[in-house]
Structure formats: C-alpha cells, structure tokens
C-alpha cells in the first residue's frame, strides 16, 4: 500500500515532498474517486436505505390500488417469521447450496492437488482447466433452460437412460416433478458452474505453499495422500475458509437457476424456492413492505458472512 511508500519518501526530502503532495495533488484524489462514490450513493446506498425504510411500512398493491404506505413498525418481520415461508425458503436454499457445494469442494481440492503435483505431472492441464471453467461463463438462465429441456419427461436424458436399459420406457422418471429431482438438478448445475472456479482458486493457493516442504516430506517417504492432508490442507486453510464463505454468500443469492428451471414457482410445492425467488415474487406483485423485510433479512445474513471474510483477510495481513 502507498501508506508504506509515502513516509519513506518523506524522510528523503521532508518539506518539499510533503508540500507538493498536500497542496497541489491531494485534490486530484478526490476528483478521481468522486464518480465511483457519487454513483454508489445514488444507485446503491440510497436504494439500500430506502429498502430498509420500506420494510417498516404496510405498502402493497391490491388490484389496481396501492394500500399505504402506513407505518407498521416490525409487523412485516413478524408476518415473515410467523407464516413459516421464509424459514422454509431459507432451508431450501441451504439444502440446494450444500448439495452442490460438497461435490464442488471435494472435486476442486482433488483436481487442484493433481494439477499442482509435480510428480504426477498431468498433461493437458490447460485444456482441462479451460473445459471445467467453461460452465462458469455460461448464462445461468440459458443453462437452466437447457437443463429443463434435457431433463423433461421425453427429453434426451431419459431417452438415453431408456436406450441403455436403465429406465422403463413406459414410466420415464419425472425429474422436474419431484423435490429430489429439482433440488438435485439445481445443485448439480451449481456444482458444474462453480467447481472450475474453485479449482483455480485452490490451485493458486497450493502453488503458494513453500515447495521445500514437499521435498522434505518426499525425502522422509511421506505418501502423496499423507502430504496432502499434513501439508497442503493445513496451509491452504485460510483460502479454503474464504472459498467456503464466499460460496455461501453466493448461495444466499441463488436465483437464476431455480427461477428458470421451475418457472419461478419453486416446483414441486415450493420445495425448490430460494430466498431471492421469494424476494422476486414480492417485487413482482409489488408488495413493497414485505419485499423490504425479506431484503433486510438477506442483508443481515450477507453482512454476518462478509464479516467473517473480513476477519480472515485482516488476520492474513497481520501475519
């Protein structure tokens, strides 16, 4: 950071440097950061505060008329927790996130360890990395639409299963009509979209580990499994935690995939409805009070998780 370079300069030519910096140039710093902060204040901060504000009001559309805004205190929050929907959608989101995250972290660790293993020397790792990262850049809504067609009752996946003899042609599996099918597909898509990204992050972490440690372990005759669990895993723990928490923050924002896959309905019987889909429904039906309350809850969850990330980062710098 420049905080470390500036004092060093000051000791060289104290008066001259300080004068130049503080008198003629500091204002440019303000000019340069102004557009960012103005845009943030107008398009994000003000909307955020007004969202919080709405959460304390009864304010919704009924037919063509708007009811409110009437101040109701914490009434929206009470309704939110009393009717059980929020808890149910939080649970759905958590289940879908975990189902996707477990294979994501397992395969990412495995692949990252393989790609960085000098003795194993994987050929074509550039090709593999390109392929496994690719789903991450695909439009999530198009990807979900694709899976909807692939896994429909008479879709290609069932066709293939039937021709392989894994499924009875008279009774094809209805992936999109079951809770397990929908949640499983959402989790599977999240896994496909994110394991490449995680692999690359973890690879960078592993490559930061002192190679001397592996050489020493090699001489001592430690197997690569032993090396992985005794050297790699403990040393990349900070980045591993970072990956887990940022993925959780991504998880609570889960929207595009379940929204498109289930046409916004969280089929069947709202069992694959995520928190943001719930927010989206309130926004569409113009129930601003309730939408505000859901937003506040989401904000608090995200804030707690971000605080954890912040803690990891500052601890890393202290070391």
């Amino acid at each position: 950071m420049q905080a470390t370079t500036a004092p060093a300069e000051k000791t060289v030519e104290p008066r001259l440097k300080r004068n130049r910096k503080s008198i003629s140039y500091a204002k440019w710093g303000y000019y340069f950061i102004a557009p960012f902060f103005v845009v943030y204040a107008v398009f994000s901060l003000y909307p955020l505060l007004s969202t919080f504000y709405y959460s304390f009001f009864e304010y919704y559309r009924s037919g063509l008329k708007f009811i409110g805004p009437n101040f109701v205190g914490f009434e929206n929050f009470k309704t939110l927790f009393a009717n059980g929907d929020l808890v149910m959608y939080a649970k759905n989101t958590l289940i879908m996130w975990i189902l996707g995250f477990i294979p994501q972290i397992v395969f990412s660790l495995l692949l990252a360890a393989w790609f960085t293993d000098v003795r194993l020397h994987i050929r074509g790792s550039g090709f593999f990395k390109t392929v496994i990262y690719m789903p991450n850049i695909i439009m999530a809504s198009a990807f979900a639409m694709l899976f909807f067609t692939l896994f429909s009752d008479k879709g290609p996946i069932n066709d293939i299963f039937i021709s392989l003899g894994w499924m009875d042609a008279a009774r094809p599996y209805q992936w999109l009509a079951t809770t397990a099918g929908n949640r499983g597909l959402v989790a599977f898509m999240n896994f496909l979209m994110w394991y490449g990204n995680t692999t690359i992050m973890l690879m960078a972490a592993i490559m930061g580990v002192d190679p001397g440690l592996y050489e020493a372990a090699e001489i001592d005759g430690a197997s690569s499994t032993k090396q992985f669990f005794s050297i790699t895993l403990p040393l990349i723990r900070p980045i591993l935690l970072y990956v887990v928490v940022t993925s959780m923050i991504g998880g609570i924002q889960m929207f595009d995939v379940p929204q498109i896959l289930t046409n916004g309905k969280g089929l069947p019987d709202r069992t694959s409805m995520s928190l943001v889909m719930y927010l989206n429904n309130h926004l569409f039906s113009k129930n601003y009070g309730m939408a505000g309350a859901v937003s506040v809850v989401l904000f608090i969850i995200a804030a707690v998780l971000s605080f954890l990330v912040f803690r990891f980062n500052t601890r890393k710098e202290e070391r």
């Binding site: 960012f36 393989w114 990262y133 198009a142 909807f148 290609p156 690359i200 690569s224 989206n280 926004l283």
Partner: protein
C-alpha cells in the same frame, strides 16, 4: 543402491502409474460431464422438431439452417434484437465500469488525501453486499425517474464496481511504481492526462481481464433487467430465456428452442475459447489476494 531402496522406488513408480490412471479417468469423466449438456444442445440445434422427438442421436441433423431461419423470423422471440440489447448493455457496462473503477483505484493508490484509507475500507465493506438486497429501492427509484425500459439503470450503476476496484488496486500495488507518476509530473504532464496516457496503458492486462469479466457478467445478468424491462424490443437475452421457459413450450418447435438457447450462449463461448488462457489466468490472479 541397497535392495530395500530399489524396492521402494519400484513400488513408488507403480503407485504413481496407478495414481495417474485414476487422475486421468476422473479428469476425462469430469470433462465429459461438463461438456455433455452443450454437446446435446448443439446437436439438437441442428435437428428438426420431429427428429428430436423420435429420440436422441449423437449425430447432427440437417435442420440447422431451417432452425436458424425460423428463429430469426420469429416475432414472438426477437432473438437478434435480444443479442443486440445484451451486447449494448454488456459493452456499455464493461467500458464504464472498468474505466471508472480503475480511476478510483488510481485515486486511492497514488494520492495521499484525508479519508484515503477510510474510502478504501468503505469499498471493501460494500464489496460483499448482494445487489438483490437494494433491488427494491433501486427499482422504485428508477420507476420514479421514468427509467423503466431504459438501458441507463443497467449500465450507469456499474461505474461503482467494488470487485473491479479491488482487483485494479491490487494490480497497481505490484505493477505501478509511484516513481513513474512523479517522473510524468516533472515532465509537466497533467494529473488526468497521466492517468489516461500512462496509467491506463500500464495496467492494460488487468483492465482487459476485468473488462471481459464485466462483459460476461452483464451479458448473463437476469435479476435486475427482468424487473425493469418489459418492452419487447428492449429485452435482453436472459429475459428471453425466461419468456421461453414460461411460454407453453410444448407447442414450441423443439429445434427452435435449442437454437435459441444456443444463440444465447454461443457468443460468450466463442470469446471464452479464444481467450481462455487469459481468462483462467485472471481468475487465479483475483482469487489469491481476495
């Protein structure tokens, strides 16, 4: 060499071979898993409706041009218009976001001013706030300003991109020595000109990575656009995907459905395949220091 040592080395070699076999098998299976859905997509985009209904085939059909023509001439799903709209939004966002976030990073990196550190901390703090959380206030503000069915709310707010800022700040710390700026000053270069003529070219690799990521993110963005845009001619591709899903799709020509999905993802896939090394490298750069 003693006997036990030789045994150990031989044993080591055979376990290495075994590990290689396992590693390549898993990698190939994951490759197939990652690519399979796209393979089916592009195969089925070349087949006609009845052909697709008869069952899956691993070989392409002959209806590529027919599907393409049908999709292009459909007035229900203005896909060309959608591609153009997505392109405008994504390009506009990438340009504004990268330029101003780099400018902000430079402002904090190169100038000592009161509140410098506080500004930096503030941006770190807001980095993790999900956009959905302020959506309600944002949507109602845009409605009040009469900016429904406009690209302004989709492009202008990206000027404040905390992630891009952070990435650029990190990059400048290791790649932009302040001495160069001092030198430019001595040569009489104005501060703003220094940024445009010296800093921007020097940070080009990082700028390119961030521009690509911002482009892709906005090309794919669905949540906010779906709440603000309902005019047929303004719809971006993700909104068309949602429309496709909610349409009575059983009546749709399946060849056209696959063709529409293919058109939505193809541009980004092509860009990705051309620049993959670069993009994958960019992910690693952003990751370690995050």
């Amino acid at each position: 060499m003693s006997n036990t040592q030789a045994v150990r080395i031989r044993k080591g070699r055979s376990t290495l071979t075994l590990r290689r076999v396992i590693a390549y098998t898993v990698l190939i299976l994951l490759t197939l898993l990652s690519l399979f859905s796209f393979y089916v997509l592009f195969i089925n985009a070349t087949r006609g409706h009845y052909d697709i209904q008869k069952g899956f085939s691993f070989l392409p059909g002959r209806a590529l041009m027919a599907n393409l023509n049908n999709v292009m001439s459909s007035s229900e799903m203005p896909v060309l218009r959608g591609m153009l709209n997505s392109f405008i939004v994504a390009t506009g966002s990438a340009a504004l976001s990268v330029y101003f976030s780099t400018l902000t990073a430079y402002g904090i990196h190169a100038y000592q001013f009161k509140g410098n550190n506080a500004a930096f901390k503030f941006i770190l703090l807001i980095m993790m706030v999900p956009t959905q959380v302020s959506a309600l206030g944002f949507i109602s503000l845009m409605n009040n300003w009469g900016l429904r069915n406009s690209f302004i709310p989709l492009i202008v707010p990206t000027i404040a991109a905390p992630m891009t800022f952070f990435f650029m700040k990190q990059y400048m710390e290791s790649n932009l020595p302040l001495e160069i700026i001092e030198a430019a000053r001595i040569d009489g270069s104005g501060e703003f000109a220094t940024f445009n003529r010296i800093v921007l070219p020097m940070t080009k690799p990082a700028i390119a990575v961030q521009a690509i990521f911002t482009f892709v993110a906005n090309w794919n963005n669905y949540f906010i656009p779906s709440l603000l845009i309902d005019n047929k001619n303004m719809k971006t591709l993700p909104i068309l995907m949602a429309q496709l899903r909610s349409a009575d799709w059983l009546k749709f020509d399946l060849g056209q459905v696959y063709m529409l999905i293919a058109l939505a993802i193809l541009p980004v896939v092509i860009v990705y395949l051309c620049l993959s090394r670069f993009i994958v490298g960019g992910v690693a750069l952003g990751g370690v220091k995050g």
